[in-house]
Symmetry: C2
Subunit: 230 residues, 2 copies
DNA sequence: AATATTTGTGAACAGGTGTTGACTATGAAG
DNA sequence: CTTCATAGTCAACACCTGTTCACAAATATT
């Protein structure tokens, strides 16, 4: 008895509306304004649903945002775990890690666009959540670095500092890559090369580090520069 | 809350309304939402002016935003120039530069808060403008680094890469510092120490770098990989 | 097949939004 | 003093906002 009364009767909208709302929000963020300046009605319209239907799935917009955030990070965390288990700490590791990470970013563009814009522009709750996730990555990377033979004498605090340097760099490059056009192959590859170089550069510095004295192993001539340079 | 909402009785309203609008927007961004989700009426209300008065000074909100951006960077550029001229490339330079820079950030908190939120959350025009400024700082730093005697053989491209690493790191730490409470002396000092360490670490890596081979001066035990790596 | 629960609809509200046009106060220039 | 452009006010508009409520449709449970 499929009666279509006012021509409003639509297809089976089982639990799909919820996902439709999330996708709609993600789309709008990707090609328009940040999430905070996104209206409930806008999202529902794009999802092909009447505004009031929103409340069947989320109490308000900020709840949608947090759900989106969770969705964004859950798969990312899982991927990072796998990378950490498979890779070994050698020269090729850097390239491999960067490659898999940036490929992942590419395949989940809208999610990263969302997170990127919320990192500093979002509500306090959002920002805090994101920064917590980032700090988690830093700690895990620091743990990995602790296993490097030439870093056994570096303090945990300095390891954290080094790891955050790497993660911050990757985050910045990720955001810069998101500014590129979606199918700018050359640009994205260039970004990958750059990322690898930068991380490698940091690792060179790391190898020179002594944390006990808060000083480098060698002065390496930084301060031996003659004052007549200017 | 000592806002002079009673500006109605004040005489000299000459060119002050324009600045009042800018200050109001800056205040709102600092303690509320990002600039994009800021309404014209909200700004005028805070400035103690009727909404229509806005159009006497700016065609629309985005024009206000660009003006704010310009105001934010003009003094910063000037300060950076002075630092670049006074400082010498030695060990103390890093500490000194970081100190003056972070002090400046502290004294211009609202401006940096504004820029920080617009970097990734703002309109395309805004983001582009900000990234252009950042790229400018990178280039200038790269020029400074080119004068380091132990970097004369590094390619211009790699110098750019190194400089962007430093700048990105400082940007990230700046944004992190802005998350701290305004009068959290300890936290801000800690951030300064961290910044100095990170920059110093990068410089150690820099000293190891050889750009002609895209490889480090020494394998330094990261891996005993043969030189024939892609 | 009858019932109950979830999910989507439509109308309506109170209030905020950008922008208009005509009008008025201000202060400088003639 | 008069003239005139600048800068601020007021009322009004058409539109978009979040949220409410009662109702209808679709699905699940009995």
């Amino acid at each position: 008895m499929s009666r279509e009364t006012a021509a409003r009767g639509r297809r089976p909208k089982r639990g799909r509306t919820r996902q439709a709302l999330m996708d709609a929000a993600l789309d709008l963020v990707a090609k328009k304004a940040p999430f905070s300046s996104l209206s409930l009605r806008e999202v529902t319209k794009r999802a092909g649903v009447v505004p009031t239907a929103f409340y069947r799935h989320f109490p308000d917009m900020s709840a949608l945002g947090l759900t989106l955030l969770d969705e964004s990070f859950r798969t990312l965390r899982q991927m990072m775990r796998e990378v950490r288990q498979h890779e070994l700490p050698n020269e090729r590791m850097i390239r491999g890690s960067m490659e898999t990470f940036f490929t992942y970013v590419r395949n989940n563009r809208t999610h990263f666009l969302f997170v990127s814009k919320e990192l500093y522009g979002g509500s306090p709750t959002m920002r805090q959540a994101i920064r917590r996730e980032i700090r988690l990555f830093v700690s895990e990377l620091a743990m990995d670095m602790a296993r490097f033979p030439f870093l056994t004498q570096v303090s945990a605090q300095d390891l954290q500092m080094m790891a955050s340097l790497v993660v911050n760099g990757v985050v910045a490059l990720t955001q810069e890559m998101l500014e590129l056009d979606e199918d700018d192959e050359a640009g994205q590859h260039e970004m990958l090369i750059l990322a690898e170089k930068q991380v490698r550069l940091i690792y060179f510095g790391v190898a020179q580090w002594r944390s006990d004295s808060d000083q480098p192993a060698e002065p390496l001539g930084l301060e031996r520069v003659p004052p007549g340079v200017e």
